[in-house]
């Protein structure tokens, strides 16, 4: 909502407030003023000029040479490129030395050999958006009506010396969608009176009711319809003051009749529509629901197919307007219009919203109906428009309004006790303070003991419950005056849940292990939604995505982590270690909330250990990542319960990927990004992991307890085994552990060798075995006995021989 300072001052005295001061006060009281525009502040030296003569520029087809009276001793010669410039026009002239918006300075110049002392301006050159310019001047220079004098300040004549306050209205404050509404707000803030127009059009003898009849067939959508008839109007431009105020309010001027309806719309917040009464033909207005599939051409010349949930104004035969949204081409006011019917009605907000949405037509009118107009202004607005049409379009207002239906909702009465009000705000207000605030708002009050009852005018439909009164008091009393306190009552122990705490431990661990945390988008493409997922389901799709790239909910964090690694890699950060914790979404069926599981995932590519001056460096590999996962399991007390099993899920290198199992149940995957996908992403070898964070953190674990430190020495034996090259280390370790029994404390794999010195198809795997008895010192014989058992088991189960 654009509020013209000049226009506003017609209703409330703001002479002692600068536009900026006023804006700040309005903002602090609850309606945010997003900006104050002072158009004249960036312009100077612009006056009214009179084009005395115009002739063709001798050297340029498209230029005119004009002699312009700018109120100085001698007229000046100006070269003008506008097609519509002509002698006898009053125009806006930027004199030599003038400044136009954008710090555009006008200098004396020679154009194709002819001197030019200034510039004749279009409205856009004076800072008025071209979409707001009256159509006839949108493509060329502006012409003043005749009541101006050469040399006078053109900016003042055009109301460019106004200040325009841009209000950002929250949906509850539709009362401020009118100048009068803003005036009430400003009056409340400043504690002043509001001066309302008191329209009383001079009426002719002829009865309006004889010229038109109205019937409402859909009273729920349209409880009341008020009309006036104005005959013999002379269509023409509206006066300059009205055109410029409309432009300052963001509305394009058309002709006097249409401008008047828009002016009153802005003034009262009541949308009006002017019909060409003769084109209505039947002299009858019937308001009804549209028929399903009914065709209708709106005044923007678009043919619309209506549906039965939309409301139309008809002439008893066919639609002439889509109620509250847009008029029809068939009944539009045009140059030749003589007799006008002014419609002022109450249309149900939801009905208007449905139609405006269905046809993609949002207008100043529909926006106001949707939010609910003030029913008490319907008649006044109608009278005001009729009065202005008499004054400004020479019309003859027929006697009386023609009204169908009735809508006089009782003003709401809302009560609150002073005690409750103070309790909610934490204030110590007296009843007198509260009454004063409501009187500034022009609300009637009654006080009964501790209770105040407020009669809320219909213009403030947002106030319905005691808390709304609290808000009115708070905002006008001023939030700055509310004290600072902290909640009283029982104090609670705050904290993280064990899960939330665990998540932080996982994050800190991974960060300590060299991973930087990433945050990626949950929405992704259909293809990526299921890529790398531990569990693949039909991905959850948005009903109306904004792009294919953000159309589905992810089932894995990895696709976007790969993307992030590729992004970094492409920017010369070739060594990347990123992790993310976040939700994935598993479809549970139509209209059922998806199952959200939390994952912790990561990607490593490039060097795991950067190149040191000592000469060491180490590329990221499977075991670097596996070590991190094992370390994480150890940190979470799950080390012994975690195992890895060769796997080949899609998207991973089939020979370098493992399932991660917790207590034998799959909880994740770790492996190399499939080289084909790596190539696609322009990545070198990359390793990924994804774990079910919730499974890891929810796993039952033992309470921490102390185990006595062993008092007896241990004995170590190293063995190097020759086995088939396909034999898995975990299998050998399992055999050793089983055969070793309780005396075997630790098995440590310290070497794997496969090469020249080995027989083809064989490899050597070396383990250090540590034996210990917590109860006593082990003898060599005891160890040898167990060790022999271990070797026998290895031979039997894995055909493992001791390396010679």
């Amino acid at each position: 909502m654009f509020v013209s300072y000049k226009w506003l001052s017609e209703y409330v005295d703001i002479a002692d407030q600068t536009p900026e001061e006023l804006a700040e006060k309005i903002t602090r009281a609850g309606i945010e003023v997003e900006g104050v525009e002072l158009p004249a502040s960036e312009m100077k030296g612009i006056v009214v000029g009179y084009v005395k003569t115009r002739e063709q520029h001798p050297n340029a087809d498209k230029l005119s040479k004009c002699l312009v009276d700018i109120g100085e001793e001698e007229p000046v010669q100006i070269i003008c490129g506008a097609k519509n410039v002509d002698a006898g026009q009053y125009v806006a002239v930027a004199k030599t030395g003038a400044v136009l918006p954008g710090n555009f300075k006008i200098k004396r110049a020679k154009l194709r050999g002819e001197e030019s002392n200034g510039m004749i301006c279009s409205l856009s050159e004076l800072g008025i958006e071209s979409r707001l310019n009256p159509k006839e001047y949108a493509e060329g220079i502006f012409n003043f009506p005749t009541d101006v004098t050469p040399g006078e300040d053109a900016l003042a004549a055009l109301n460019r010396d106004d200040a325009i306050l841009e209000l950002s209205l929250t949906p509850n404050r539709s009362d401020a969608l009118s100048m009068i509404g803003v005036a009430y707000e400003v009056a409340a803030i400043l504690g002043r009176d509001v001066t309302l127009p008191e329209p009383s059009p001079a009426e002719a003898d002829e009865q309006a009711a004889n010229a038109v009849s109205i019937r409402i067939d859909a009273p729920e959508d349209n409880p009341v319809y008020v009309a006036r008839v104005v005959k013999n109007v002379k269509i023409g431009p509206s006066p300059l003051w009205m055109q410029t105020l409309l432009m300052n309010a963001g509305i394009r001027p058309h002709n006097n009749v249409v401008d008047i309806t828009n002016y009153v719309l802005m003034e009262y917040g009541q949308p009006l529509h002017a019909f060409d009464l003769d084109r209505v033909q039947t002299g009858e207005i019937v308001v009804r629901r549209a028929e399903q599939g009914e065709k209708f051409t709106t005044l923007d010349d678009a043919e619309r197919t209506l549906s039965a949930d939309q409301l139309v104004i008809t002439n008893g035969q066919e639609p002439i307007a889509l109620a509250g949204v847009m008029g029809g081409a068939n009944s539009e006011v045009h140059e030749g219009t003589v007799n006008v019917l002014i419609e002022s009605a109450y249309f149900d907000g939801q009905t208007v919203r449905t139609a405006s949405k269905a046809h993609g037509l949002r207008s100043e009118a529909s926006a106001r109906f949707e939010k609910g107009v003030d029913p008490s202004r319907i008649e006044a607005a109608c009278d005001r428009a009729a009065e202005l049409m008499a004054d400004l379009a020479d019309g003859r207002v027929l006697s009386g309004r023609v009204t169908a239906g009735e809508y006089n909702p009782e003003p709401k009465r809302v009560s609150i006790t002073l005690d409750r009000l103070n309790m909610r705000l934490g204030t110590d207000l007296q009843m007198g303070d509260v009454q004063d605030i409501f009187s500034r708002l022009k609300f009637k009050t009654e006080v009964n003991g501790d209770e105040i009852t407020v009669t809320v005018p219909t213009r403030r439909g947002d106030i319905t419950i005691p808390e709304d009164l609290t808000e009115e008091v708070a905002r006008l009393y001023g939030y700055d005056h509310i004290p600072l306190t902290l909640p009283e009552g029982e104090s609670l122990p705050g904290g993280l849940s064990p899960y939330q705490h665990g998540r932080r431990i996982v994050r800190r661990y991974l960060e300590g292990a060299g991973f930087t945390q990433a945050v990626t988008y949950s929405l992704t493409s259909e293809k990526r939604a299921v890529q790398f997922a531990l569990e693949v389901r039909q991905p959850v799709a948005l009903a109306m995505p904004m792009s294919e790239e953000r159309a589905y909910l992810r089932e894995s964090l990895l696709p976007h982590l790969v993307e992030a690694a590729a992004y970094n890699s492409a920017r010369q950060t070739s060594s990347v270690a990123l992790y993310e914790t976040g939700s994935i979404y598993l479809n549970e069926g139509e209209n059922v909330q998806p199952k959200e599981e939390e994952r912790v995932s990561g990607i490593v590519t490039g060097l795991w250990q950067e190149h040191l001056w000592q000469g060491e460096k180490k590329a990221a590999d499977f075991f670097a990542v596996k070590g991190v996962i094992e370390g994480l399991a150890a940190r979470l007390g799950l080390m012994e319960r975690l195992s890895f099993q060769k796997a080949a899920p899609e998207g991973f290198h089939p020979g370098r990927t493992a399932s991660v199992l917790l207590d034998g149940q799959p909880v994740g995957v770790i492996g190399q990004l499939h080289p084909a996908l790596a190539k696609e992403a322009d990545l070198k070898e990359a390793y990924l992991f994804e774990l079910k964070l919730d499974a890891l953190l929810h796993a039952e674990r033992k309470n921490l307890g102390y185990t006595p430190i062993p008092r007896f020495p241990s004995i170590s034996r190293d063995i190097a085994l020759v086995v088939d090259s396909t034999a898995e280390a975990a299998l050998l370790e399992g055999i050793i552990k089983e055969a070793g029994g309780p005396l075997l404390m630790k098995v440590h794999l310290f070497d794997v060798y496969e090469g020249d010195k080995m027989e083809e198809g064989k490899k050597s795997v070396a383990f250090a075995l540590t034996y210990m008895n917590p109860e006593k010192t082990l003898t060599d014989e005891e160890v040898t006995a167990v060790h022999e058992k271990v070797l026998a088991a290895l031979k039997e189960k894995a055909d493992a021989d001791l390396r010679a």
Partner: protein, 344 residues
Amino acid sequence: MEEQLKGLQEEAVMKAAAAQDLKELNDIRVAYLGKKGPVTEVLKGMGKLSAEERPKMGALVNVVREAITKAIETKQASLESEAIQKQLAEEAIDVTLPGRPVKAGGPHPLTRITEEIEDLFIGMGYTVAEGPEVEQDYYNFEALNLPKGHPARDMQDTFYITPELLLRTHTSPVQVRTMLKHAGKGPVKIICPGKVYRRDSDDATHSHQFNQIEGLVVGENIRMSDLKGTLDVFAKKMFGEDREIRLRPSFFPFTEPSVEVDVSCMCGGKGCSICKGTGWIEVLGAGMVHPNVLEMAGFDSSVYSGFAFGMGQERIAMLKYGIDDIRHFYTNDLRFLQQFSVHE
């Protein structure tokens, strides 16, 4: 004999002092004090002495032996020390060479902000509540006083999955779910961090995915002044002790009264580009919980009242760290992320 001994002592002490290394010194020890050495020889010849002279000479031998031993020991200590010095000198390194790096990553700036705010409120007795990101229309809107068709729904452009399911547009549904769990009995004191989604085109100031932290306190006699006091503590802890807050009336369907909360700008009110010259930065939305919301969540609004507030971690991070483009948070450029690995 006596002279002979003195001569030996003198000779041995001189040789010891001149010894070049430990081996030579050892040879001297063996030569003079060994079983076949001259001192022992002298002792052997003592038998020829008279009973009177014998103890005198014995004492003298001991004096000589001790003197030689001492000279050798002194020299030995000195030689050993020299050897160590030499070894240390050889072992010297260039301490300005780079250390062996320990790989260390760090948290995402949004996590830093989230955890910082969580900890701040945990200290004030709040617990952290979380909930689903894909929500039912009921919890995201209806239970928050936003029935279907309510014009205020336009304030939040929503990603719908079905007419009943959507990506939550705020973390407020967690408040509703938590209140329902409390089954009408206060107090409730939670903060709700999490991801939220809106139908926005991504640009420097908009992101279709972002984070929010909301807070909710419900109890008997919770006042607007409590909200103001709580947020004042928050602003001072988060942005600095000299910061102040300012409440401006606003509108949210789920609170009444509703306010926007500004924090005073670090420019101290002089006006800068961050506060656009106003001296204030809009940081939070807040208000007193609307009685309809309390009632729908099972609380008797004549007994209970509450306040709620909400803020965006992205905005806070942008203000706190001076980040100019919201897309940085989701690009995961390590050159950006690694700036936040440092403990503040």
